[in-house]
Structure formats: structure tokens, C-alpha cells
């Protein structure tokens, strides 16, 4: 069933694919070849199985024509053209081998090797070196040129980057790394310094990599044909034996990766060229920061304890599962069936999430199941569901290649979704126009070879005001796509919406005092979005994590409909989802009111189908959402929680409230790979398994279902899905699955939008975008073509209501939160990798004016207080925010970023308002009271973890 092991070495066709309606036929070395017009001779030859020697060419980069190794002869033409830069033409007769070509190539190779160390046997790339291969291919036997002082054989290595080494002595100056940094990653951190013989690859201004703009994506390392740029893990472990294709477990881009393996040890993760979400690119997290999976902090044995102040007792799996099950049953016996619930994980697979919600609904017998999407994209599900009929983005990532105008709202793709950020930057370099709506000057505002046309730097919490103002301009200036609206949308709802947005209070001028954005800029940006061609909207948590998060999503959906930007390539509404499987966890029925496929629990037909498949009656009343669980815990009616792979203590807002709720539980079962912040309040700890230790699927932000493949046995003995099965069995609701594929088969049977999905299909296609059913047997890359899923698109009125979280003399600044490139979410993974070299603490970004008012200098310790609590961080004085706005990340538990955030939340979905908290910032000298408590509690919990002599053996 699984894909066979692959060779770690990809086939390289030399130059990128060219798409053309026209085909040309030619002869290469006597073989007839037909290729699309524009295809290089090198690629045409490779497609027929002939390999022309090459060094500077690779099929991920545009041809460059510098190495002079790929020369060929063409009948009727003089000279020896480079096959990488020469397009195939009709009727050409090409020779790739001749005596003269052999002499030329050998001569070129001799020059290369004259300045290259001959240490192949001890070289890290031995066995994976194109230079070595080419020396063999051209038959190099001697180098007549002596080593001279200008040579680079003694050049110093740069090992400043934690993940790879740059050894200039091995560089052949083929420029592939420089081009990869430019064409693929779009950072332009590398160049060639100098000229002639002295030219060398230079990061930044001939600096170490870590001092340059390098973002450690690894594209240069992938591109390098020698050992000049090589992973430290390969230096240490040697070349991999085989590779297994799997999917990254970090953000919602869902990059395809090859796990390069030696036995059951991962020696490298390389981006998979066949991965449709990433097309062979990666970022620092997926490419390099996988060491957490085998980190010594992993907890590999089940543990139980009666009270959270007791030492942990190491027990067998069976005892832990039995204990957890008996506690849940005891609690239900005492407090009622609804006194327990579960939280599913956006880090786990679809199959595991499906089982977790199934266990809650079937074994617990209630609908008290929720997921971390509650705190991120639940408004997306609501807003897009109401307006379009599906709770997901409308496009593929590749669609951005057809966009003329890109509107980014409340998202920071180059940090949070870096691989998509690179694809987006590529389109900007090709000339697409860019509008950014964000309180911060994110990196996409300006960078090498791109600059946003408009940055609408609004006050946090005024999203809806600005989207209404944009809609006002489009409607009042006659920019409505009438044909689209008339044929595709519900006209009654459109008329009502139109009457609403044209009201003067929605004009950019009227909203200017609210948003802080000059009306002229709003008008110009609105015109550009409406008239600039294919316009696509990409948005992130800056849209959803507000009191009006759902309203804003609806506002975005309205905007795309009124301009006709739905249902074709290059347009659409695209939520950038945070975690690897947050889309999937929502799809799999993790919400208390929805079965898999977003069908309400009160819908009789749906419920009956699950009842008959699962063999028991199910409840038709929605269960508790996460915030309701906390409230119910505090009022005593909710006493037991099964929490799989989510750190609610660190990630949910108003930490002290969360802690109070969890502390009141009688049984908290945490299933995770680490003793995370939540586990410190747990009574049962069940070891989780990393993405390398299980089979399954993840679904990314473009609805793409991709396989996760097991490359090593679970370190704790059980995959996460096996743990849920065991717990369900112990609760008296038996589950029988021998492989996750059987779980997917059940999902497909019970969920119409997944009815065509199977592991066989995924192995065949690589990945598939839902809906995948009889009508779309190979999935649906583009949604809402021809008509909306709900039929007619529904306009909805989006009245701007200011948030309750207002600045006051006591709390005069607005805090907004986010994440940065090298750390991920609560940091449980990335903090346990060398990514700490890039970002080792959360800092509070504060504008120079606000800093000066408070006597704060860069690096000072500052107290941040809100009506929820206070914490202490170091200040980073920065002009990224407007005056009056401060910003921080939440990657480190000791920062207590969420001690400050409040329990304000979205009116429709309870998604917390992380993005707006009124705060005061002052210089301080010591930790906050909460931080002191956290430090003491953490020390105590670490102490309770250390096994005493009597606890060494499982009882």
C-alpha cells in the first residue's frame, strides 16, 4: 500500500518544464524526440533518457549557460551551443557526443578541478556530488595546471549557520546557490563577489551566512552540485540509504518532503519536487528543524498521578489507559454524561482527529469535542460557509502565478507561511501589484525587487471598518462586476448589502478617524483591487482573531464576489491556515456542532448515517466549545478532559483563567510528545508520536490531502491513533482498525466530500484536494467554478462594531500578537532545535515614540499589563508598528504573552481576540508575579517528573 522507498537522488532534467500548445520534433543522437516549444535541448535529451554533462543547470532554476559542459553540435550550425540555453526547434539534428565535444568538456573539467581539492574519499558529498559524476562522465584523467597562490584551496569554512556549512574551497562558482536564493526563495542574500578568478559566492557583503539576510531555507544547499554547501547532519551521518515521501508537520502550507533515511534514522529532510504545495521548496522549519522529534525531552512512557502535586508514576500502557478510562467513567457516573470532553489536535493526522472526535461522540456519549481551530480559523469556517457554502480556501497555492493584484490582510506569509511567501514574492517580481492591510510593516511591504503599492496600516481591531470602506468605494464608484453578481449571487442579499455599504458612514472618509488610514489610500487601493485584473485575497489570523473575526471573513467574501474574483485561476479567498492539519482537524468533525464534512449534529440524515455506522445512538445537541469547557470546569459541571496534542495553557488566551479551569479538573489526560505546559496540570500522560512515527494524512490550507508516512517505529510504543483506539476500547466502545488506511476508508464512506479519497488514490496522485467524489474523482483544485457550493453566493451585511477592548488612560497601547519565521506556535518543537540561534526569546516590539515616552531603550526589561494580567519581556524598539501599537510573539512559555490577552472573542465562533489587547508598558527590574509563579510551578513539575528509585519500574 505504501509508496516504495525512493532513491535519495532526484532525477534532474536540467532545465524547467515549458508549457506550450505547439510541439516540435527533432533528432538527438539519432533518437526522434517531440517536446513542447521552448523546451531546451538539454531537457529534450533528458526526456529521451540521454544525459548531457552539466554543472550549472538544474531543473529547478532557469538555464544560465555558464559551465560550458553541456555543449552540443547542431547540424548546419557553427560552433558548440550550450544545450541548456538552446531551445529545441523543428527538424533539428543534434549530437551530444563527439570527439571534439569530448575534448572540449574534458578541457573545461580540467580547469574546474585545477582549483578544487582532491579529497573525494573524505568529502561529505562523496556519493552525491555532481562534480565527481561529471569528472567521471567526461573521462578526466589528469590536471595539468599547478596549484597557485590565487587558488582557493585554503579558503576558510563558514559554519556560522546551525544547519549547514559553506566551504568556499570546494566552490566551482556555478552560481546555482545564488540563483536559487533569487529565483526560488526570493531573498537575494547571496551574490558573487569579485571577478575573474577571485570570484566567490558571498552571503551579504562577504559576511558569514548568519550575518547576511539568509533565512536558512536550504534552497542553496539543495542547489549546490558539490560539497560547498552541505548539511551538518550529512557531514555527521554520511549519505542516506533511501528516502520516504512524507508531509511536513509545521505550518498549513503542507510541504511535501523526502525523509532521507539511514535505517530508521532521519539524516536529512529535503523538499520533494513532486509536492504540489511546495514544488521542491522548503523553509528553515521543515527543512532543518526536525531534531525535536528525537529530542531527549520526549516522554516515552505513560505516567499517572492522583493529584498534580504528586510525583509522576511511570506505568504500563495498559495501566495508564485503564486508569484514564476508569476516571472518565467515574466522573460521568458522578457528575453526568456531559462532565467529560475531548480536544483534538491540529498537529495530528486526519485519521487520529477523526478517531478522537468519534471516541468523544460514541464512547463519552456527548458532543463535547473541540479543537485548536477554535482559537485560530473558526471564523473562516463560519464566514466562508455562510457566504459560499464551504469552510475552506478557494484556490491552490499555484493559482497565485495567475494573480495580477494580491491583497494580503492580517497575514505575514514570509514568516508564518514562508514557502507560499516565496511563491508570492516570485509573482510580485513578475509584476503583480500588492496591497497590504496590516497594523505592522511586515517584510512583504518592501524587499529586494518588490514593494507593496499600498500599505493600509490600520489600528488593530478596525478590520471591518476598512473592508466596508473598500466595498463602499467599489459600489459607489461603479466598479461592481455586475455580470458575475447577477448570474452567480443571490440578488436579494446583494441589494440589501449594497444599500448597507453605500451609506455615508461606511465611506473611507468617515472611517478614517476609526482606522487611522488616509481615505485617499483606501480609495486607490479599492480601485486597484476592483480593476487590476485577477485579484486574490490571502488572509491570516489578523482577520480571524478578533471580536468581529467572522464579520471580517464575511466582508472579505463579499468583496471577492462583488468584484467577480471567484471561480477561476489567480483570484479567490485564501485563508493561510496556521498548523499543518488545522484544515483537516476541522474537516474531520472536531467541532462540537459538526460531524466530519461540516454537517450539523442536529441534521437527522447525517446523524443517522453515523449512528448506523458506529452502531449506537448519538446526541443531536451541540456540545461544549473550549471556552465553555473552561467555564463549566470552573462552575463544577465539567470534570474530565482528554487533550490530544494541543497546549491550551500556552496557546489559549488569558492563561490564568485557563490554569484555574484545568486545576479544577479531576482527570486531565494529556497525549503529547513533550511534557508541555498543559501536561503540567495533567493526571494521566500518554506519550504521543511525532509525524515520523505514524501513517496518516494531513490536509493543508488549499484543501490538499497528503500522505504522512511512518519512517520509524513510535518511540513510546504506540502511534497516536492506536492510543485513542485503546482508550475507546477501555471505555467500552470497541474500535477495530489495523491500519490508518482503514480509518480513511471509513471517513470516505461517511463523508460525501471525501468519498473518493483512499490511500491508493493518494499514492497514485501524490495528493488530492477535496471535494473528491464521483464528480471529481481526482479532487477539486479550484472551488466555486460556475456556481457556488451553496448555489448562489450570499452577501451578508457587515456592520462595524468597535471592540470592547479600548485604550484607556490606564491601558493606552494596543498589543497585537503574531509569530516569527524560525519559531512555530507554542515553540514546543522549534525551541528544541537549533532554531534557537535565530530567535531565542519573545520580545515586545514598541515604536520609538512610545519607547521614548516611557524612557525605554532597546533591550530593556518592560512590564506589559492588561486587565487580564501582566508579564515582563525585553523591549525591541522598532518602527514596524505605528505609534500606539505594540507587538509580541508567543513562542516561549515564560514570556506569558497569553497572560495578557483577554477572553474577548468572536461573536459567532468564540475565536479569541488575540490581536487586540489594551496594555500599558513600563520599565521594570524583575519578573511579573505570574512569571515567578510559572517558574516555581515549572521547577516543581520538572522535579515531579524525575523518577525516584521506587518509580523506575512500571507497576
Amino acid at each position: 500500500m505504501d509508496m516504495p522507498f525512493l532513491s535519495p537522488h532526484d532525477t534532474d532534467l536540467g532545465t524547467p518544464e515549458k508549457i506550450s500548445d505547439q510541439q516540435v520534433s527533432l533528432h538527438i543522437d539519432g533518437h526522434p524526440v517531440t517536446v513542447p516549444r521552448g523546451t531546451s535541448l538539454m531537457r529534450a535529451a533528458a526526456l529521451t533518457g540521454l544525459s548531457i554533462p552539466k554543472l550549472c543547470a538544474t531543473d529547478t532554476l532557469e538555464p544560465f549557460g555558464s559551465c560550458r559542459l553541456c555543449l552540443v553540435e547542431i547540424e548546419g550550425r557553427k560552433g558548440f551551443p550550450a544545450s541548456c540555453t538552446t531551445p529545441a526547434e523543428e527538424g533539428m539534428v543534434v549530437r551530444t557526443q563527439s570527439t571534439q565535444l569530448a575534448q572540449l568538456r574534458r578541457g573545461v573539467m580540467e580547469l574546474y578541478i585545477s582549483d578544487h581539492p582532491l579529497d573525494c574519499l573524505t568529502c561529505a558529498s562523496n556519493g552525491d556530488c555532481e562534480l565527481q559524476d561529471m569528472a567521471g562522465a567526461v573521462g578526466l584523467r589528469e590536471v595539468r595546471y599547478p596549484s597557485i597562490e590565487h587558488h582557493h584551496l585554503t579558503a576558510q569554512k563558514d559554519d556560522s549557520n546551525p544547519y549547514f556549512v559553506y566551504d568556499p574551497s570546494k566552490c566551482i562558482v556555478c552560481n546555482r546557490c545564488v540563483r536559487a536564493c533569487e529565483e526560488i526563495q526570493g531573498t537575494f542574500a547571496l551574490t558573487l563577489s569579485g571577478r575573474g578568478f577571485s570570484s566567490r559566492v558571498s552571503p551579504g557583503e562577504s559576511q558569514p551566512f548568519m550575518a547576511s539576510e539568509c533565512v536558512s531555507c536550504g534552497a542553496c544547499v539543495d542547489a549546490c552540485p558539490t560539497a560547498t554547501l552541505v548539511e551538518k547532519s550529512i557531514l555527521e551521518a554520511g549519505q542516506p540509504e533511501y528516502s520516504v515521501v512524507t508531509t511536513c508537520a509545521y505550518c498549513g502550507v503542507g510541504c511535501g518532503f523526502k525523509a532521507d533515511m539511514k535505517g530508521t534514522e532521519v539524516v536529512r529532510m529535503t523538499p520533494w519536487k513532486g509536492g504540489k504545495a511546495n514544488e521542491g521548496h522548503a523553509c528553515v522549519k521543515g527543512r532543518f528543524a526536525w531534531g525535536y522529534a528525537t529530542h531527549k525531552d520526549r516522554i516515552l512512557t505513560p505516567m499517572i498521578r492522583k493529584h498534580i502535586t504528586d510525583p509522576w508514576q511511570v506505568v504500563s500502557w495498559e495501566e495508564a489507559i485503564q486508569y484514564a478510562a476508569s476516571e472518565f467513567r467515574r466522573i460521568q457516573g458522578t457528575y453526568g454524561r456531559d462532565a467529560v470532553g475531548g480536544i483534538t489536535s491540529s498537529r495530528c493526522t486526519n485519521e487520529e482527529t477523526y478517531l478522537a472526535q468519534k471516541m468523544v461522540r460514541a464512547a463519552f456519549g456527548n458532543n463535547n469535542v473541540d479543537t485548536c481551530a477554535r482559537v485560530c480559523h473558526s471564523p473562516t469556517g463560519y464566514g466562508l460557509g455562510m457566504t459560499y457554502g464551504t469552510s475552506a480556501g478557494t484556490q491552490t497555492f499555484k493559482s497565485v502565478e495567475h494573480s495580477d493584484v494580491i491583497l494580503i490582510i492580517g497575514a505575514n506569509p514570509t514568516d508564518a507561511h514562508p514557502v507560499f511567501g516565496s511563491r508570492l514574492k516570485k509573482r510580485l517580481r513578475e509584476g503583480a501589484r500588492l496591497i497590504i492591510i496590516d497594523p505592522r510593516r511586515i517584510d512583504l511591504v518592501q524587499g529586494p525587487h518588490f514593494k507593496a503599492d499600498y500599505l493600509l496600516q490600520l489600528r488593530p481591531g478596525t478590520n471591518v471598518a476598512i473592508i466596508n470602506a473598500i466595498a463602499h468605494v467599489i459600489v459607489t464608484e461603479g466598479l461592481v462586476a455586475s455580470d458575475f453578481v447577477n448570474t452567480r449571487c443571490d440578488m436579494e442579499s446583494f441589494q440589501a448589502w449594497k444599500a448597507f455599504v453605500v451609506q455615508p458612514h461606511n465611506s473611507p472618509e468617515a472611517m478614517e478617524p476609526v482606522t487611522g488610514v488616509p481615505a485617499t489610500q483606501v480609495r486607490e487601493a479599492a480601485r486597484l483591487y476592483a480593476t487590476g485584473g485577477n485579484a486574490a485575497i490571502y488572509y491570516g489570523l489578523g482577520v480571524t482573531e478578533h471580536a468581529q473575526g467572522s464579520t471580517m471573513v464575511i466582508g472579505i467574501a463579499n468583496l471577492a464576489m462583488v468584484t467577480g474574483n471567484i471561480g477561476k485561476e489567480g483570484v479567490g479567498v485564501n485563508p493561510l491556515r496556521g498548523q499543518n492539519n488545522v484544515q483537516g482537524s476541522c474537516d474531520m468533525g472536531s467541532f462540537p456542532h459538526e460531524y466530519p464534512g461540516y454537517r450539523h449534529v442536529s441534521d437527522d440524515a447525517t446523524r443517522h448515517s453515523f449512528e448506523s455506522a458506529w452502531g449506537l445512538p448519538l446526541r443531536k445537541e451541540p456540545g461544549l466549545r473550549i471556552p465553555n469547557m473552561f467555564e463549566a470546569a470552573l462552575d463544577g459541571s465539567f470534570r474530565g478532559l482528554y487533550c490530544q496534542g494541543e497546549d491550551i495553557v500556552q496557546s489559549d488566551p488569558n492563561t490564568q483563567h485557563v490554569i484555574a479551569a484545568l486545576s479544577s479538573l479531576e482527570c486531565l489526560v494529556v497525549q503529547d510528545i513533550f511534557l508541555n505546559e498543559t501536561a503540567k496540570y495533567a493526571h494521566v500522560f500518554l506519550p504521543g508520536s511525532s509525524f515520523l512515527e505514524k501513517d496518516g494524512t494531513f490536509t493543508n490550507a488549499e484543501r490538499r490531502i497528503s500522505r504522512v508516512r511512518k519512517v520509524m517505529p513510535p518511540k513510546g510504543g504506540m502511534s497516536d491513533w492506536e492510543v485513542t483506539v485503546a482508550l475507546s476500547n477501555a471505555l467500552g466502545y470497541p474500535m477495530h482498525y489495523s491500519h490508518p488506511s482503514e480509518i480513511m476508508d471509513e471517513i470516505a464512506r461517511l463523508t460525501p466530500t471525501f468519498s473518493g479519497v483512499s490511500y491508493d488514490l493518494l499514492d497514485r496522485l501524490g495528493s488530492v484536494q477535496w471535494p473528491c467524489d464521483d464528480q471529481n474523482p481526482e479532487g477539486t483544485p479550484l472551488m466555486h467554478v460556475g456556481s457556488f457550493v451553496r448555489g448562489l453566493g450570499q452577501f451578508m451585511i457587515t456592520q462595524y462594531v468597535p471592540t470592547d477592548e479600548k485604550v484607556t488612560p490606564k491601558f493606552p497601547l494596543l498589543l497585537t500578537t503574531g509569530r516569527i519565521l524560525s519559531q512555530y506556535n507554542v515553540g514546543a518543537q522549534t525551541r528544541r532545535t537549533a532554531n534557537m540561534a535565530f530567535h531565542s526569546e519573545d520580545r515586545l516590539d514598541i515604536h520609538p515614540h512610545d519607547a521614548e515616552d516611557r524612557g525605554i531603550l532597546d533591550g530593556d526589561w518592560v512590564g506589559v499589563s492588561s486587565r487580564s494580567g501582566n508579564t515582563v519581556l525585553r523591549a525591541h524598539v522598532s518602527e514596524r508598528m505605528s505609534p500606539g501599537v505594540v507587538y509580541t510573539t508567543f513562542h516561549f512559555p515564560e514570556s506569558g504573552s497569553n497572560v495578557i490577552t483577554t477572553d474577548n472573542s468572536d461573536w459567532a465562533t468564540n475565536c479569541p481576540e488575540y490581536k487586540v489587547t489594551a496594555v500599558q508598558v513600563t520599565r521594570v527590574r524583575q519578573m511579573s508575579d505570574w512569571q515567578k509563579y510559572h517558574q516555581q510551578f515549572d521547577e516543581m513539575q520538572q522535579h515531579l517528573l524525575r523518577p525516584g528509585p521506587e518509580q523506575m519500574t512500571p507497576s
Partner: protein, 192 residues
């Protein structure tokens, strides 16, 4: 040395053309410049150079020339300023600056002597002339003199092949530089 020169040209022309094309689209986003760590006077010259040439096609080379003409070198701290305002990376500007030997990255000495080392001047005694200058100034070719007064650089052709050997002192050309002429040129105070 096939492997070297070609791609340098490629990358430079890419930089020069694309930065100009991109610049046309930009408006309305206020730049907050990275704080330049340049001395005030140098910073002013750099900013003037950028302002003067930014809207030209392929502005990078004219800007670099303008800076060097006024400051005698390209201050390393100016790279970030130029890169930011031209929407280039520091690496790209660095690549162009280091590609051309004409651009200096260090403050030049008070007197900069450039001696032609090309064939016609060699035939007219440029090698001997170079040695003489080295011994007179205490400054080796490609270096600064220990007292910081002189720097001696080579060039391949000043366009005076018919009247070699040729030198340029502080940018001023001198032909047929024989022993006497050299004495005049190197005399204190004569900075041409």
C-alpha cells in the same frame, strides 16, 4: 577562465535592469529607512547620489560612480542605504561594487596613483616606471604606503597607448611619464 566572467555580467545586468523596472510601480508606502551608520557628510553625499539617479534607467552604476567621484570610495555603510532605496539586497549591491576594480571600498590615500600595465605602456617602460614609483613612495602596487599618503593601483589601459607610459594621479591623466616627469609629479604639494 571560462567559468568566471560570463555570469558576472549576467547577474549585474539583471540587477541593473530589474531594479529600475520595479521602481516604477512603487508609491504611497512611506519608507522608514534603516538608520544609516554613515558619518553625516558621507550620508548626505550618498543620499544625494541616490536622489539624483534613482529615477534613471539602471540607477545603480551611476549612483556608485557619483558616490566615488565625491567621496573617493564607496563607504561600506552606504551599501544598505543604497540597497534599501533601490529595492535590492545588500548582496546584490556588494556584488556590483566588488565586480568593478574601479570602485574602492576603503578611503583612498591622499594621492592615488594608477599606472597602466597594458601592453603598449609595458613596451614603453611601464614596469620600470612602476618599480620606480614603488621605491619612491614606499608603496607596493595594490597597496597603501605606510604613511597613508599614497596608494598605487594598476589599470589595464588609460586610452593613451600612443603616448605611454601613462599614469593617472587623483584622476588626472599624465602621458609619456619619464624620469623627470615623474619627479615633477611626485613632488610634494603637486596634487594635479
Amino acid at each position: 577562465m571560462i567559468k568566471i566572467n560570463q555570469f558576472c555580467f549576467c547577474s549585474i545586468s539583471y540587477v541593473v535592469h530589474s531594479c529600475n523596472l520595479k521602481y516604477q510601480n512603487m508609491k504611497n508606502t512611506q519608507n522608514s529607512l534603516p538608520p544609516p551608520s554613515l558619518p553625516e557628510q558621507e550620508g548626505r553625499v550618498v543620499q544625494q547620489s541616490i536622489d539624483q539617479w534613482m529615477s534613471a534607467e539602471g540607477p545603480l552604476l551611476p549612483i556608485l560612480h557619483h558616490i566615488q567621484d565625491h567621496l573617493g570610495y564607496i563607504p561600506p555603510a552606504s551599501i544598505e542605504l543604497i540597497a534599501h532605496q533601490l529595492n535590492l539586497s545588500r548582496a546584490e549591491v556588494h556584488g556590483v561594487v566588488t565586480y568593478y576594480p574601479h570602485f574602492r571600498r576603503e578611503k583612498p590615500a591622499l594621492r592615488q596613483i594608477v599606472v597602466c600595465q597594458a601592453e603598449a605602456c609595458q613596451a614603453r617602460g611601464a614596469r620600470e616606471l612602476t618599480r620606480t614609483i614603488e621605491s619612491r613612495t614606499g608603496c607596493r602596487l595594490g597597496q597603501h604606503s605606510p604613511d597613508g599618503q599614497w596608494c598605487l593601483e594598476s589599470v589595464y589601459c588609460l586610452g593613451l597607448c600612443a603616448s605611454g607610459p601613462a599614469v593617472a594621479i587623483n584622476g588626472c591623466l599624465h602621458a609619456r611619464v619619464d624620469h623627470d616627469r615623474l619627479n615633477e609629479l611626485l613632488s610634494p604639494g603637486d596634487l594635479a
